[in-house]
């Protein structure tokens, strides 16, 4: 297991500090936290382990269409949390709110105890959050290696002049970035396509490269927007294995959206179910499978197909 523990070490140091901060200081000192809204998080506090990600009363609408209504969600460190629901239920909107692409009309996103009205997208990587996209968002003109290395771009401190002249810290940075990217490529079994242009790869591999790019940053929170969409059954189970392995190896918390209920049931620790922008269930896979509201809204009447294998 040659994978770097140094990076995690560095990150953890900065990760757990704000948590202490959040609990130890009066709410007035917390950024972007309106003081009157802070009486809420009784639900979050009830959770034994303090949540890494918590959403409080998130509301979002486009024009008159309500995409998300009063969503609460609490994700514990190290958890794999799935968000499922029919098309248009607001799953992608939720991921976009968590990653700061959308600004919610109401509510707050708490990352590690720090509350944001809008998650600052530019700072997202520094906050330890990485995501993939429903429609591939790779850099087609870069090699697979460079795509994965770009996941570490947020850490680069050398300026362009140093990089051009090859002086200062740029050399060490370049080397370390390469090494780290190579380790991730090995981990996700992408070594064979290392130097191919990302745009020339088949779809399933591109999805995996996108996962690799997100993992390169060694995020604490990994948001996956339909990581298995359009894959064959074999590719899906492979991807599920990679996601589980990534969580185990990097202690990453995973929030994922997926349509394939069978895969989700096997992969997730807990599942939140959305329907028409509302959360109708939030429980373990077994509980969700037997929840009458979920069956009505999403799973359909399939009492003889309880393991979800046929879906």
């Amino acid at each position: 297991m040659p994978l770097p523990s140094y990076a995690l070490g560095v990150m953890e140091a900065s990760v757990y500090a704000p948590e202490v901060f959040a609990h130890g200081l009066p709410s007035a000192l917390q950024p972007a936290q309106p003081s009157e809204g802070y009486a809420e998080p009784a639900g979050a506090a009830a959770n034994a382990a303090s949540p890494l990600l918590s959403l409080q009363g998130i509301g979002l609408s486009f024009g008159g269409v309500v995409a998300l209504a009063d969503i609460d969600l609490s994700v514990r460190p190290g958890e794999i949390r799935a968000i499922i629901g029919p098309n248009g239920a607001g799953k992608s909107s939720l991921i976009n709110v968590i990653s700061g692409v959308y600004r919610p009309d109401r509510g707050h996103v708490l990352l590690d105890g720090t509350s944001y009205a809008q998650v600052p997208t530019q700072r997202l990587a520094h906050l330890g959050v990485a995501r993939t996209f429903q429609n591939l968002a790779l850099f087609k003109g870069l090699s697979v290696l460079d795509n994965v290395a770009s996941g570490l771009a947020y850490k680069v401190r050398s300026n362009f002049a140093g990089q051009v002249l090859g002086i200062g810290r740029s050399r060490g940075e370049q080397r370390e970035t390469r090494n780290r990217a190579d380790q991730i490529l090995d981990f996700l079994d992408l070594r064979a396509v290392r130097d191919r242009l990302a745009g020339t790869l088949p779809y399933g591999l591109q999805k995996r490269v996108e996962l690799a790019r997100a993992l390169a940053a060694q995020p604490r929170l990994l948001l996956l927007d339909e990581p298995m969409a359009g894959m064959t059954a074999g590719e899906k189970s492979e991807m599920a294995d990679f996601i589980r392995a990534a969580r185990d190896r990097f202690a990453t918390t995973v929030v994922l959206i997926e349509h394939d209920v069978g895969v989700v049931m096997g992969l997730s620790d807990r599942i939140a179910v959305l329907d028409y922008g509302r959360k109708i269930a939030d429980a373990t896979p077994d509980e969700v499978r037997n929840d009458q509201r979920v069956i009505d809204a999403y799973l359909g009447v399939a009492s003889d197909d309880e393991d979800g294998a046929g879906i």
Binding site: V101, A130, L138, S150, F160
Partner: protein, 346 residues
């Protein structure tokens, strides 16, 4: 499949800098001995200036994905800035004027790059026209820039580096070649660095680039600055080494389009492509005029030449956009691979 791979691996592997080094050795060692003054004045000097301008625009448009129609303005800014630095600062070496001129062009580039923070694609291209018209207007309107010359024309100073005069055709060629070589090498280093990869990331998917933590706004402005610096220095070469006397009207929208065509025909996001494109743009009118004169005789006067040049060039651009969007560079690489492969299999 395996056979092909082994064929390629059995070709004598030369380090990738072999070709550039050989080209440079030829350009420095042999061309000055055998070249005629026509070759330098009419072909090589404009080729070097336009090639460098193409490298500059390619960094902005090809790599960073920000379309610009203001290249000629940055060339003009570089040329007139170098002229004024040279004129007004006593004892400033020529290289100093050129570097300062590049910095002035870079500053103007950043200024007119600001709209790129909000605008994309077609809209950005139109907003860069502002640079084109403003710079040309300012240089014509305020005669201070041309040292109060009545016509707005400036004369290039004598070229010399540490007392070494470079006024002849060969001297100016070597002067231009050296600047172009240094800047092209640095540009190559840039586009293969992390900053260059950030450019491509922003071009290919700006949202993803922002989310993974690439400083998008800063990186865009940096692309404008570096690109304008290089184009500004290309303007200095154009004015000082090639034409020797220039006026603001020489840096009009046509010139901006010419540089854009160079990178489209040569190959977007390719340093070599800029030089392929520049070679075609420079040699093509000369070849066409020779050919026309040979085939049609006196009927082929300068009016007809100008017209036919535009028609053929327009057709070429359309053909390239449809058939080979990656430009002459892709064509060249493919041909070379085929030849190599044919040579291997014999």
């Amino acid at each position: 499949m395996a056979a092909i791979t082994s064929d390629f691996s059995s070709t004598p592997v030369l380090p990738k800098w072999t070709v550039p080094i050989l080209l440079l050795a030829f350009a420095y060692g042999i061309v000055p001995l055998i070249g005629s003054s026509y070759l330098f004045e009419a072909i090589l000097l404009p080729f070097l200036a336009l090639g460098l301008a193409g490298v500059g625009l390619n960094i902005l448009t090809g790599y960073a994905g920000q379309v610009s129609l203001g290249s000629a303005a940055f060339m003009a800014a570089g040329a007139f800035a170098a002229y004024n630095f040279n004129l007004r600062i006593e004892g400033l070496p020529l290289i100093g004027s050129i570097v300062l001129a590049g910095i002035v062009a870079a500053a103007i580039g950043i200024l007119f790059g600001l709209p790129s923070l909000r605008l994309k694609g077609f809209y950005l291209a139109v907003s860069t026209l502002a640079a084109q018209f403003f710079v040309q207007w300012a240089l014509t309107k305020f005669s201070w820039f041309s040292n109060n010359s009545a016509s707005g024309v400036i004369d290039a100073p004598r070229l010399s580096i540490s007392g070494f005069a470079l006024d002849g055709a060969v001297g100016r060629y070597l002067f231009a070649l050296t600047i172009v070589t240094v800047l092209t090498f640095l540009a190559h280093r840039l586009v293969t660095s992390q900053t260059g990869r950030n450019f491509i990331a922003i071009r290919d998917n700006e949202t993803a680039a922002r989310i993974i933590g690439i400083p998008v706004l800063k990186t865009k402005l940096l692309a404008f600055a570096i690109s304008s610096f290089i184009i500004g220095v290309a303007g200095v070469i154009w004015a000082f080494a090639y034409l020797r006397t220039v006026e603001p009207d020489g840096f009009d929208l046509d010139r901006s389009f010419q540089i854009l065509f160079i990178i489209i025909i040569g190959g977007l996001a390719s340093i070599r492509g800029a030089f392929f494109g520049a070679a075609l743009i420079v040699v093509f009118p000369l070849a066409l005029s020779r050919l026309g004169g040979f085939l049609l005789g006196d009927v082929f006067d300068s009016g007809v030449l100008d017209m036919s040049q535009r028609i053929v060039l327009g057709a070429l651009i359309i053909l390239f956009l449809i058939l080979e969007p990656d430009g002459l560079v892709a064509l060249w690489d493919r041909t070379r691979r085929r030849l190599l492969f044919a040579w291997q299999s014999t």
